[in-house]
């Protein structure tokens, strides 16, 4: 068993090194500062409990994202646990300016991205917002690197298709894809 001081030191190292990226990950995927603060706190509470499971080195951060991801999933299911200890953080995060509706409406990339299935949005955002490699994403999602590559590939293709469809309408090209038609 780790001596208590050792545990605390390890936690503090992880906390210091990953506070901003993990909080960023959470803020980008929650609706408001309050939710973000709760999810963030619970993520690191989990890290504290599972300290010995946290991989050392480069895998630590994607592993933490993976924990945050599960906490988020629970949170979205309604398991909300507002705690007093996150009040200060929540109030600080209230200052974040989130993109307004009018910006979203004007932008075809925003729209195309918003219309992607959740799992496609997830891999694309992990790659482009968190800047993770396929190998790191596989740690976050707990699946194989190949699965991530395939999903990234599909997501990118779907996005490209949505963008090209949004530009010049090509009814003839689309007509061959009939729903449920085994072609």
């Amino acid at each position: 068993m780790r001596p208590p001081d050792d545990r605390r030191r390890r936690f503090e190292e992880l906390y210091r090194a990953n506070h901003d990226p993990v909080l960023g990950y959470v803020v980008r995927r929650t609706a408001n500062g309050h939710d973000a603060a709760d999810v963030f706190a619970e993520t690191f509470l989990t890290v504290w409990r599972r300290l010995d499971d946290v991989p050392v080195g480069e895998k630590a951060r994607p592993w933490l994202f993976g924990v945050a991801r599960r906490v988020l999933a629970n949170h979205h299911r309604g398991a909300r646990r507002h705690t007093a200890l996150t009040a200060r953080l929540a109030s600080e995060l209230r200052a974040i300016q989130r993109p307004g509706e009018e910006a979203a409406g004007a932008d075809i990339l925003t729209r195309a991205f918003a219309e992607l299935p959740d799992d496609y949005r997830e891999v694309l955002s992990l790659a482009d917002w968190e800047g993770l490699s396929a190998a790191e994403i596989s740690v976050v999602l707990g699946c194989s690197v190949n699965a991530v590559r395939i999903r990234l590939h599909r997501a990118g293709r779907r996005l490209a298709r949505a963008l090209s469809e949004d530009h010049p309408p090509r009814p003839a090209a689309r007509a061959r894809v009939q729903e449920g038609d085994p072609a």
Binding site: R2, L23, D52, A95, S144, N146, R149, A160, P182
Partner: protein, 270 residues
């Protein structure tokens, strides 16, 4: 193909967040967290896992609670071990205690006994679970390593490795284990769709075409359904008799040494 980046859609950067959060707030939260006393370590992690059941993908809460219980309290070394070691008739018999353990833990436990052995469990189709998928060992005057096949699932695994006493050479062994629900099978060396099964560009094939080539090579085929990014209504694979030969192949992955998993569906690739 260069993928379109969605980087500029990032609603808020880490730097922006870092500027908002005060040192006081950071420290206070860390202080609160490390001030909490973790729950007592449950004595039987495995039993609890079985109660929870298999759906790791869906039952996030339950899986989290259970899996999270493993680390902190520093259970006794024997309890935490990923492998067990037992001397039997001139061999050291090494059994897998925790099929979910990081291979690095196996490696470390081998290392602690002076052994340079890489053991890995790779997700496979059920019929390859517990079998040796790959084995490589060096010449050693002490003898050769033997792999003992058995059954192997997510929670329990009966495979073992018999290491001659005084064995000092290197070995690398990969056993198959039953894939978790929704988990991809271990893939081959290729990263491009279809490359791992020797059919790069597989998304140009129909089911009939792909299967004809694979059959000619003696490769068994298993199907997964894919339609517009969804695997519904066949989340666990589609039976061969429900697959239309004229459907399109989207991907091909290596299931095991001699098996291919084809992702198929009614819609052509674009």
């Amino acid at each position: 193909m260069t993928r379109i980046t969605v980087g500029r859609l990032n609603p808020v950067t880490d730097d922006e967040i870092a500027r908002l959060v005060s040192t006081q707030s950071r420290d206070e939260l860390a202080e609160h967290i490390t001030g909490t006393v973790p729950e007592p370590e449950p004595r039987s992690r495995r039993r609890r896992r079985l109660i929870v059941g298999i759906p790791l993908v869906g039952a996030v809460t339950a899986a989290a609670v259970v899996a999270f219980s493993s680390g902190w309290a520093g259970p006794q070394p024997a309890e935490a071990a990923a492998l067990s070691f037992q001397r039997e008739g001139g061999y050291l018999v090494v059994r897998v205690q925790d099929p979910e353990a990081d291979p690095e833990r196996y490696r470390e436990e081998f290392r602690q006994r002076g052994l340079n052995i890489n053991l890995k469990l790779a997700p496979t189709s059920p019929d390859k679970a517990g079998q040796v998928l790959f084995m490589e060992d060096g010449d050693d005057p002490a003898g050769r390593i033997e792999a003992v096949e058995g059954s192997c699932g997510e929670h329990a695994c009966s495979v073992a490795v018999k290491v001659p006493e005084n064995y000092r050479s290197y070995a690398s062994i990969v056993f198959g284990r039953a894939a978790e629900q929704g988990e991809m099978y271990a893939t081959g060396p290729g990263d491009e769709p279809g490359e791992g099964i020797g059919l790069p560009g597989i998304d140009d094939y129909t089911v009939t075409e792909a299967v004809a080539i694979l059959r000619a090579r003696g490769v068994a085929v298993e199907y997964r359904y894919q339609y517009r990014g969804s695997d519904q209504p066949y989340p666990h694979g589609i039976p061969a008799d429900k697959v239309d030969p004229d459907w399109y192949v989207h991907e091909g992955l290596v299931g095991s040494e001699n098996q291919a998993i084809l992702f198929v569906g009614p819609e052509p690739n674009d």
